[in-house]
């Protein structure tokens, strides 16, 4: 197990390192950042002066080494706009993102797993058909559009809920629903197919042949076996959830990392972009890591050698 943890930990470091490297070089390739601060007609000497000041006149690999050296210490430079510590700004926004993502994830799992189980158990009935239909349609609805529609209905028409911003629980309702909706569709589908797969296994037949009642067969046996693939698929899908969070935050002006990243991209505030990429890569890597441990926990073939 220790072996496994260390291996995964190394992988996390590699992921984060490479993500930063790629973004760093992309930014540098895309153009000289100094032009962003100065009027287009700024004299040459002023540009040179600025380049010198910010260290952009040094060779690229020196800049890269410098950047990495600082990044390891958590220093991604200062925001080009507010002159505050970039990582600090990102970390300030992190709780809001967590709040949104975790609530949505829990909501999605609580709806999707029972729905998927029921759909599999009642397969090919009207209930199942409707369930499958909804998941297929659900997967075709882009989350940002769903967000807009929810704003239109609940904020513009009914005037029940705020259209954006953060702070109170009421502000959370629409973004959470938006973010959860897409995951519900996918998780339901996963659960249904995992259950269907398990229900036709030989060992389920064995349990039936021992006289196990259907409800117990599903709840205790089949669901437990299905959890193994469900955990894997849900973990793989958390990237989609995290990505969805960026867009949902933008739609609802939710004060999280996603919205910050988007705004910084708009403003070409690259230190914040780099810090944001760092945090997202780190979070996603950690989530995968936890999912792997969970996976090993529910699967005795891995846990018990």
């Amino acid at each position: 197990m220790l072996d496994f943890v260390i291996k995964r930990f190394l992988q996390v470091i590699v992921v984060v390192f490479l993500a930063l490297t790629v973004v760093f070089f992309l930014i540098r390739l895309a153009g000289d950042p100094t032009t962003l601060f100065l009027p287009p007609d700024a004299p040459r000497e002023q540009i040179e002066e600025y380049r010198e000041l910010l260290g952009y006149n040094r060779p690229l690999y020196v800049q890269y080494g410098d950047f990495m050296y600082n990044a390891i210490q958590g220093d991604f430079g200062e925001s080009l706009r507010s002159q505050e510590d970039a990582l600090g700004i990102v970390l300030d926004r992190l709780p809001a993102t967590f709040q949104l993502a975790i609530t949505s994830l829990i909501l999605a799992l609580f709806i999707a797993i029972p729905l998927g189980v029921l759909s599999a158990y009642k397969r090919n009935t009207v209930f199942d058909r409707i369930g499958v239909g909804l998941t297929v349609v659900g997967q075709a609805v882009p989350s940002f559009w769903l967000g807009l529609i929810l704003i239109f209905l609940f904020a513009a028409q009914l005037q029940l809920l705020p259209s954006g911003g953060g702070g109170t629980p009421v502000h959370m309702i629409l973004p959470t629903l938006t973010l959860a909706a897409y995951s519900v569709a996918r998780f339901t589908r996963f659960t249904r197919s995992a259950m269907l797969d398990v229900l036709q296994k030989d060992y389920i037949r064995t349990a039936k042949a021992s006289g196990v009642p259907t409800m117990r067969l599903i709840m205790r046996y089949a669901l437990r076996n299905s959890l193994i693939p469900i955990i894997t698929l849900v973990a793989l899908d958390l990237g989609v959830l995290l990505g969805g969070a960026v867009i949902t935050e933008a739609v609802f002006s939710w004060p999280g990392v996603g919205r910050l990243l988007w705004q910084s991209l708009m403003n070409r505030d690259f230190p914040i972009v780099l810090a944001g990429v760092f945090i997202i890569a780190l979070i996603y890597a950690i989530i995968n890591f936890v999912a792997d441990i969970l996976y090993a926990y529910v699967n005795p073939q891995i846990r018990v050698k």
């Binding site: 297929v136 349609v137 997967q139 989350s143 559009w145 807009l148 704003i151 996963f190 989609v240």
Partner: protein, 301 residues
């Protein structure tokens, strides 16, 4: 000895005789058995039609702005779906937007598919250190949210149709590489490959004559399932102000522009969204059908 075969076997023979010629017929007869597949196929055909013949069927010039006619609700003044804030006909813009979605979906699938397949084959067939390096790279990229990656890349390299396709392809090739590699690995272990090696077939011929033809099905299935993702991703990114830029009509940037009028003019954000949903639904339905028909083993994700 052949004559001793049961009659059934011989009867089977005559049925299957004309098989080769009717591949297309077979496709449609299979399709007609699934209404979801038909629906998906129908939607795709409609999209292709719109994207090719769009300019000839739009009732108005989609780029033509007429401020006096701004924000007309649907079904007024001959505007089926109303007009936007600049007075442009939404119906015409949606039709023209189909072209952007189709181009992006297909172009990205082709580029990402080709790159990913090549990488997947190299990694899976030759194994060794090259496999380790390539797959580490894929792992790393896969452990970063697709949409965020595409967003960041597109924001840095700049907006525009070409750049959004490049960004999507950079984000999308890894799935192909991963899937194709595992297909190749599975194929390599298949007994019919061992059988060909035992026959004396060379490595290159095994790759070309035995492995490649068996990859065709998974590539097609995967590509058709990915196109929906690309179309939605493009719309999301255009919505965020990157991707395809106005005035080129794309469903995503129409929604971005319409967003400011959500409290007054609902049709600006409703119809382009419905167009995206129908498109993604059609592509996904068709992809699901393809997967279920061509490869029963892949069923269930």
């Amino acid at each position: 000895m052949a004559s001793s075969l049961p009659q059934g076997e011989q009867a089977l023979g005559s049925v299957l005789k004309s098989k080769q010629k009717t591949k297309i017929g077979e496709f449609f007869s299979n399709l007609s058995r699934s209404w979801t597949g038909m629906l998906g196929f129908g939607i795709i055909m409609l999209l292709l039609f719109l994207s090719i013949f769009g300019p000839w069927i739009t009732p108005y010039d989609p780029m033509h702005a007429e401020f006096s006619k701004g924000l007309l609700p649907p079904l007024t003044d001959g505007h089926l779906l109303g007009t936007d804030h600049l007075g442009r006909d939404i119906f015409s813009r949606i039709i023209m937007g189909a072209r952007v979605s189709v181009i992006i979906g297909i172009a990205t699938a082709c580029i990402a598919g080709v790159i990913g397949t090549i990488v997947g084959i190299i990694a899976g067939y030759f194994r060794g250190w090259i496999d380790i390096v390539l797959m580490r790279l894929v792992d790393v990229q896969l452990s970063f949210p697709f949409i965020v990656l595409v967003l960041v890349i597109n924001a840095i390299i700049g907006a525009g149709l070409r750049n959004i396709i490049i960004s999507l392809a950079i984000g999308g090739w890894v799935i192909f590489a991963r899937v194709i590699r595992s297909e190749v690995l599975a194929l390599r272990e298949k007994e019919f490959i061992t059988s060909s090696i035992a026959t004396g077939v060379s490595r290159l011929q095994i790759l070309v004559k035995h492995i490649l033809p068996n990859l065709f099905t998974p590539i097609i299935i995967l590509a058709s399932l990915q196109i929906g993702t690309y179309i939605i991703a493009e719309a999301s990114i255009s919505f965020l102000g990157f991707g395809v830029q106005p005035p080129t009509p794309a469903w995503g940037n129409m929604l971005n522009e319409g967003r400011d009028y959500i409290f007054s003019s609902w049709w600006l954000v409703t119809f382009p969204g419905i167009a995206i949903v129908i498109t993604a639904l059609g592509v996904n339905l068709f992809g699901d059908w393809l997967r279920d028909t061509l490869d029963p083993e892949l069923k269930g994700e």
